[in-house]
Structures are given as C-alpha cells and as structure tokens.
Amino acid sequence: MYTQALDAQGPDSTAQLDEIALEQRFQARIDREEKIEPKDWMPARYRATLIRQISQHAHSEIVGMLPEGNWITRAPTLLRKSILIAKVQDEGGHGAYLYGAAETLGVSRDQLVDQLLSGKAKYSSIFNYPTPTWADIGAIGWLVDGAAIMNQIPLCRCSYGPYARAMVRVCREESFHQRQGYDIMLRLSQGSSEQKRIAQEALDRWWWPALMMFGPHDADSTHSSESQRWKIKRFSNDELRQKFVDFTVPQAKFLGLTVPDPKLRWNEEKQRHEFGEIDWNEFDQVLKGNGPCNAERLAARRNAHAQGAWVREAATAYAEKQRRRTHRAA
C-alpha cells in the first residue's frame, strides 16, 4: 500500500533552503520519538540507508534458512525435526516481513531479489560458515540467534514505523530460536563424551563469527553516527557486542564448555568481561565473498529461484485466466 516510485525522490525542484527546512523538521520529529511512516517526507539518504539495511536484513533471513535447512532431513528425532522445520519456516517469514518493510520505501521485491541473486547485495557473513554436525544447529540457535536478538531488540524502537513493526514480530518469534538452540547444546553437553566433544567443537566454530555479527568496531563503522542520529540504530556495535559476551559467557559455563578465547576474563572493577581481538581479516574476507560457503549459498538461492520460476509463472497465468473469465461473465 505504501509503494511509491523511487524517482519521485530525486533532487527536489524546490529551493535548497526548503530542503534544509524539511530536513530540520524531519530531525525534530525523530528527536521527539515520532515514527516516520512511508508517505512522510524523509531525506533521500535516510531512505537509501533504510533500504540497504532492511534488505540486507531480509536477505540474511532468507540465506539463513540454508545452513539449518541442511539438517532437517538428519535431525536426530522427529520432535527435533519438527522444531527445526518450524524455525526455518520462521526465518522465511522474517525475510518476508522485512522485504515487505523495505518495499514501503519504494523498491520492488523483484529488484531486491535480483540484488541478492546477482551477488550485489550483502547479507550477514555468519551464514557463510558450514554446519558439519548436529551441534552446529544448537550453536546457531544459541549464539547466532542470540546475537541477532541483541541487535534486533533495539530495532523494535527504530524511527521508521514499518521496520519497527516488522521487528516487533520478528523478536517475538526469535526467543524460541535461541532457546531451542541452547536446549540442543544442553542435551549434548550432558551426553556422552562424543556428544560433549561435538558441542565444544561447535562452540569453537561459532564463537568468533557470532562476535563478528555486531560489525566493525565503532571507530571503523561507516554508517554508525548518522544512523544513530536518525534513531535507526540505538546502540553502538561495541556496546552490543560487550553485552552479548557478558550474557553468553555464564551460559557457556553452565554447559561446562570453554569459550575459545584465551584472553577472556572477568574484570571485577568494570563489572564486565574483557575479551580478545576479532580476526578482522577473516571478517573482511567472508564479507568480500571468500568465506567457506559464500559460493555455495548463492548457488543454492539461484537454483531455488530458477527451479521455482515455473510455479510463479503458472500461478500468474492462472490468475490471469480467472480474471478474464470473471470479466467475460460480467
């Protein structure tokens, strides 16, 4: 309902003074914690930032179905299989909510899908890591969804109404994802030595990539300050990362597992954990497309899109035929 042509947002013919006044009024609304809605005036950069962020977020949900979908046929029990199907279905739903929110900004679904499939758009680097064992499914729910929740809860109060509303729905469903993951880790860590071993290995594999999910250090973050002024972003990358570490370390301890960071220690004075430096070279490489599964993930999406083309076309043709029939009958 909110779809609006992007070309309407080109350079305005009104004087630049008007533009400044509009921008001031816009910022004042944000400062008053008012929500911006699709038909409201907004700076072109606010729109562009949101389209980029929301669509990347949507792509991440969609690509995020792949590493876990990989284990649906091999889940250890029927209950675990049902849970995993429900979780993966949720991820698809989250992608759909978010694409819907992005579309209110005047970009079409086809454009967004095209950006993902052509490799032009980014998605969360975390999904370019493999899931070799069942314990990885536990670690993803616990750590990856845990980190995602940390990032996403503040987005429920984001200044852009449709994004905030989509995030409320996402967050409501996300807690189940994290808890089912921790539940898998709990069972494994209380199981045989072999089960405990795969749980530890999965923690070793996912710990650092999970910390990378919060993005670059604040000092190196390109979009941060503007996004904070516009209240798209409420907390800095480093603040959220710290919070995640402080929440997660005791949970690992309860499992009897070791966080793979020799520098990790509790700082009594600051009442928080100190931890080692992230391998930013690895982060950059995965982001650039050189992670362990980048090519595989994109190939899977392209394949799914191509294989589904006949279904989309058939449904369109059927709808068209029905429309003609009703038209003739009338």
Binding site: M1, G93, G100, R109, D110, R169, T316
Partner: protein
C-alpha cells in the same frame, strides 16, 4: 527483472472472535485466494488469528500526511464533544 511481479496485498487479521480485523502487514500473491493462503502461513503460525481479510494494496486510498492538519486539526478545539467538558454537581448521580 520480471515485469509480471505478483501484486501486493494488505493483510488484516481478526485475533479473536469479537475483535476488529487489524492490519498486520503485506505480501505478494498471484490472486486473492493465494494471498489468504500466504497470510495464513505468514501471519498465523502461532494462532494469531481466527479470520483473515486481504485486499489489493492498489485498492486502498489513503490520506496524505500534508492533509493531516486540515483533516484532524479542527477536532482539537471541540472539547465540548467529550463528556469530561461538563461539570455536573456531585449530588447528581448516574449521569
């Protein structure tokens, strides 16, 4: 880019019997029947509804933000439309 993208539908859900249908979001579908099916999968995975309405987004006419003042401002000074405007003596009951 496929020019024949499925149209956008707005989805309204009645959460429980007795409540209004409320807008929950939008989705693409080839026709209204598919929109209902998709809405069921997308918006009622956890028993969030007992009834679904879908309507083509292009069939909705919305007021413009610029009209807000003209449309809604006149109601602001008509406080006599609210029952609390009237001071009724305490002795008068059930009014």
């Amino acid at each position: 880019m496929d020019e024949r993208q499925w149209p956008l539908y707005e989805v309204f859900i009645r959460a429980r019997g007795g409540l209004d249908h409320k807008h929950v979001g939008s989705l693409h579908a080839s026709d209204a029947r598919m929109a209902i099916d998709h809405a069921r999968d997308l918006y009622t995975r956890r028993q969030e509804g007992v009834s679904i309405w879908v309507v083509r987004s292009t069939d909705i006419t919305a007021s413009e933000p610029e009209e807000a003042e003209a449309l809604f401002e006149p109601a602001r000074d008509k406080i006599y439309r609210h029952p609390t405007f009237y001071d009724i003596p305490a002795e008068v009951k059930t009014l």
